[in-house]
């Protein structure tokens, strides 16, 4: 456990008991992150950060306010409570104020691997050295990160809610560059010991060496085979655009009034599942999470709800609330994209003429109402004929809609890979073959 205070729960319980507010909630977060960063064959940044804070929310007389403090002591928390009460006093009472969670929750257990000793800076440097030496042997330049993250989150309130969980994430990523070629690979796991470093190095180097001297390709529509990392990149846009219960209620959602309808290919399935894609088993208001189906058989079957959007929709909250109050609304952070029945090598083999894409860069929304987005290819794009890579091509910008991209899916791999997402979140993605992706302008390199 990262917490140096083994008695944080006790500290919070005593602070709750001492709080003069009608209702009090704490969100305690503690983060320990070790990260070694390397660039151009040398370690450039090598850090350990250890931070913690308590978000204090109070409700008093139909008003509420939140104060966050890094002073995790009885005096520091008491002061935060006092300040929150003082801030809350300046509001008008809200007759519709949602009381803090009181309903008893059953938190399922997330299956984290056995906690192993920390890698330490020497262990991370040794991994980096292996990657750098492998790249140097090929005359390539190596850049990347090796990281080890542990967080602890506790949500406790004066109605008896107590949720306490950890999140672990280790990552090794590598970009290898030579002669205008660039290759990238990444492994994300719960602990550093699970990271297959040699596989990352082999994949990045293979992409790099194959992508030298890329050729121009006219922009237009092409069939594509997407590595799982590229699918994960696109899944992030689903997370922002398609699953927010708040956006749906506010009318700024592509499917307003059409929940349950079919928008995508039968083969597209997405669920939020912190037990399959390791995450916290509760949200920041203490609501227990379960598997939340979002897209099944191409139908939009569910939305992420916090307690506030759930009340308005007349449904149960799905456990996707951020620390309240916020204006973001609920976010599904642990996306599990359904696997298909195609062996991963056949995803590429089945591509007659088209592009193999390693991953995507700098995605952003063009129009939230038709799910149109833009972004670029990166670190290895290849022209494929009859399932064989023929030559590397230069990067291109795509501008396309998720509705169109996933409106027809030719193949989904059986195998899936984990990617890091946001906060304590991750994505589990298969590789896919899509019949059409619209490339709108060349990058020129």
């Amino acid at each position: 456990m990262p917490a140096t205070l083994t008695d944080v729960q006790t500290l919070l319980a005593e602070a709750l008991a001492a709080s003069p507010a009608e209702a009090t909630e704490f969100v305690y977060t503690e983060t320990k992150e070790d990260l070694t960063r390397f660039g151009a064959n040398a370690i450039t940044q090598n850090v350990m950060k250890h931070s913690r804070s308590v978000g204090v929310r109070v409700q008093q007389g139909g008003r509420e306010a939140r104060v966050e403090t890094a002073q995790v002591t009885p005096a520091g928390i008491a002061r935060a409570i006092s300040e929150a009460l003082e801030v809350a006093r300046f509001q008008q009472p809200d007759p519709a104020l949602l009381p803090m969670l009181a309903e008893k929750q059953a938190y399922r257990e997330v299956a984290w691997p056995k906690v192993t000793p920390e890698t330490g800076p020497e262990g991370r440097a040794e991994g980096v050295a292996r990657a750098v030496e492998a790249c140097k042997r090929e005359g390539a330049r190596a850049s990347g990160i090796c990281s080890d993250l542990v967080t602890r989150t506790i949500v406790a309130n004066s109605h008896g809610i107590l949720a306490d969980g950890i999140y672990r994430e280790a990552e090794f990523s590598l970009t290898a560059e030579r002669e205008g070629g660039s290759g990238w690979a990444k492994a994300v796991a719960s602990t550093y010991e699970e990271v297959d470093l040699d596989r990352v190095v082999a994949h990045a180097l293979e992409k790099c060496l194959k992508s030298e001297h890329p050729r121009d390709l006219p922009v237009g529509d092409y069939p594509v085979a997407l590595h799982s990392a590229a699918v994960a990149d696109l899944a992030t846009m689903f997370m922002w655009l398609a699953f927010s219960g708040l956006a749906y209620q506010e009318g700024r959602h592509f499917a307003v009034g059409k929940l349950g309808e079919k928008f995508f290919d039968d083969k597209l399935g997405i669920a939020d599942d912190p037990f399959e894609v390791p995450g916290l088993p509760f949200d920041y208001e203490g609501v227990a999470k379960d598997r939340t189906p979002l897209i099944e058989g191409g139908r939009l079957v569910g939305l992420a709800h916090d307690r506030h959007t759930a009340r308005k929709a007349g449904v149960r909250p799905t456990g996707h609330g951020l620390p309240w109050p916020n204006t973001w609304g609920p976010i599904a952070q642990n996306l599990s994209i359904a696997p298909g029945d195609t062996p991963i090598e056949d995803v590429l083999r089945g591509l007659q003429r088209g592009l193999l894409i390693t991953h995507l860069h700098y995605l952003n929304v063009v129009d939230q109402m038709d799910l149109s987005i833009t972004g670029l290819t990166r670190d290895g794009v290849f022209w494929v004929e009859d399932g064989q890579i023929k030559y590397p091509v230069k990067n291109m910008r795509f501008t396309d809609s998720l509705l169109s991209l996933f409106g027809q899916i030719d193949a989904v791999s059986r195998e899936r890979e984990r990617s890091a997402a946001f906060w304590e979140g991750a994505t589990l993605s298969p590789a896919m073959r899509l019949p059409k992706m619209h490339f709108s302008s060349p990058a020129g390199f």
Partner: protein, 501 residues
């Protein structure tokens, strides 16, 4: 009359002020005893306040306070960094020793020893000026203003989301180094804005004021908030959001493009700012945000833009979000041209990398988010210098084109060449006059081609320092703030209206 809330920061900051010297000395001593050849310590205390009103209720009413220390060392010719929230001397000593251990691990994978450009060991107290302490203004007053804005925004039934905000921040940093520096620096930032989303006609359209992503902010006090005239502009901006619901889509094709100052802020940031960070240029950000087309052989000779394009970095400009006395290397703030008369001149550097381009002194661009993070090269305040045009005259001089403003979407490649940016609103320009409103406007270009197509820049009367509050960079991710000054400018023959087919 409302009670004035006691500001959260001064009391703790004042308590810290009496303790920082011995704490810093303990950490520096421990680092050097452990073998560091260089060490610095940053003790950082930060307060943030967010007051947000959304759809008639308090959307956020947050205050946060954070304090901790980061120790950065060079040992064995390599960097190590460790940070802790614990400000007791044993914890600082432990952090210093850990930083040295990390540095020694870094030293096992190095190309050359870290070499720092010389800098005076400054001993100074510096702070951004303000007239009204934003933390001393009653929350009640802030809510009253925002509820007044909110009421106007929601007067029409088409409005689904109205959100207005006032943000305040104060950061006090004590920087001490083994070279004798001791800098006590305090930066206060404040500002606000609103955004309003109209829904109807199968569409949702958002307009913001004065700019998107929480409005307009400076290193200043609360005096900026009334000057923003949020109430006075609420009805006009709301009605624009509603009008966008039935506006025609932005036409597709090449045309002349006039960008407003708020959108130019983003254009400068993405296509000039990040492209000239020397760590990117040298390939050190390759695995994450990318590198840069503007490689070092281009310095002093590359035509970045047309001859009217002058882009000036300025860590000293009053009000700039990146304005400071010193960066987190302890280097004094500076003003310099990145592009002069269209020709590339300089990069953003730090003490470590300056020698890679044969410069003897850092340009003072190394900054860290809080105490938890190691300083990295950051875009400073960076502005497009005003030209000589009046905006009305510029529009009158444009036979056929589009005027776009206020950023909505941004994407640029890993070399900082191919960008595609979307704006909230646009108007047709026909025969020198503004005409129809267009929705979902966007444009795409290649950085040097785009800046070379600039043939007119508006004058100082249209110039303002626009704000970026959310610049992300680095791993672990860090957020930084900076300002980009601009006035509207015209770009010829730009591809606009990019679609999905």
């Amino acid at each position: 009359m409302a009670t004035i809330l006691k500001p959260a920061s001064p009391s703790m900051a004042a308590q810290l002020a009496s303790r920082v010297r011995p704490l810093a000395e303990a950490a520096l001593d421990a680092a050097q005893l452990a073998g560091a050849t260089y060490a610095d310590v940053r003790i950082v205390h930060r307060c943030d306040e967010r007051v947000v009103v959304k759809n008639g209720t308090v959307g956020e009413l947050d205050r946060s306070e954070d304090v901790g220390v980061g120790v950065r060392v060079i040992a064995g010719g390599a960097w190590g960094y460790a940070s802790t929230y614990d400000l007791n001397p044993p914890a600082l000593v432990a952090a210093a020793k850990l930083a040295v251990r990390i540095a020694r691990a870094s030293a096992t994978v190095k190309v050359a020893d870290v070499r720092l450009a010389p800098e005076t060991g400054w001993r100074d107290r510096w702070q951004t000026p303000y007239q009204i302490d934003p933390f001393a203004v009653p929350v009640f007053d802030k809510l009253e203003l925002l509820f007044a804005v909110d009421k106007i925004l929601r007067e029409r039934p088409e409005i689904a989301v109205a959100e207005s905000a006032i943000l305040s921040m104060r950061e006090r940093t004590w920087f001490a180094s083994s070279e004798g520096a001791f800098i006590d620096q305090e930066i206060t930032r404040c500002g606000g804005g609103f955004e309003v989303t109209a829904v109807g006609n199968g569409d949702a359209q958002t307009r913001s004021f004065p700019a998107s992503f929480r409005g307009h902010h400076k290193t200043t006090g609360y005096e900026i908030v009334p000057a923003l005239k949020l109430v006075e502009n609420a009805a006009k901006v709301r009605d624009e959001a509603i009008a966008l619901l039935t506006a025609e889509p932005c036409p597709s094709g090449r045309t002349d493009l006039i960008l407003g100052g708020a959108q130019l802020c983003l254009q400068i940031h993405e296509s000039v700012g990040h492209a000239n960070e020397l760590d990117r240029v040298l390939g050190l950000e390759s695995n994450y945000a990318g590198i840069s087309f503007c490689t070092t052989e281009k310095q002093g000779n590359f035509r970045y833009g047309s001859d009217i394009v002058n882009l000036v970095a300025d860590g000293t400009v009053p009000g700039g979000l990146a304005t400071a006395g010193y960066d987190d290397d302890g280097v004094a703030a500076q003003r310099f041209h990145v592009v002069r008369d269209g020709i590339h001149q300089a990069y953003f550097t730090n003490r470590e990398l300056a020698h890679h381009i044969a410069e003897e002194r850092s340009r003072g661009c190394n900054r860290a988010e809080g105490w938890q993070n190691i300083p990295i090269i950051r875009i400073p305040n960076l502005s497009l210098m005003p030209g000589s045009w009046n905006l009305d005259e510029l529009i009158a001089d444009t036979k056929q084109g589009i005027y776009m403003d206020v950023n909505r979407s941004w994407s640029i490649d890993q070399m900082r060449l191919n960008f595609q940016f979307g704006c909230e609103v646009a108007w047709e320009i026909k025969d020198g006059k503004l005409g129809r409103m267009f929705k979902n406007p966007n444009y795409q270009g290649i950085t040097p081609e785009f800046w070379n197509s600039c043939d007119a820049i508006c004058d100082n009367s249209h110039f303002d320092l626009w704000s970026v509050l959310n610049c992300g960079k680095g791993q672990p991710g860090q957020t930084a703030e900076m300002s980009h000054g601009s006035s509207p400018a015209r770009f010829r023959n730009v591809m606009c209206g990019i679609t999905t087919h």
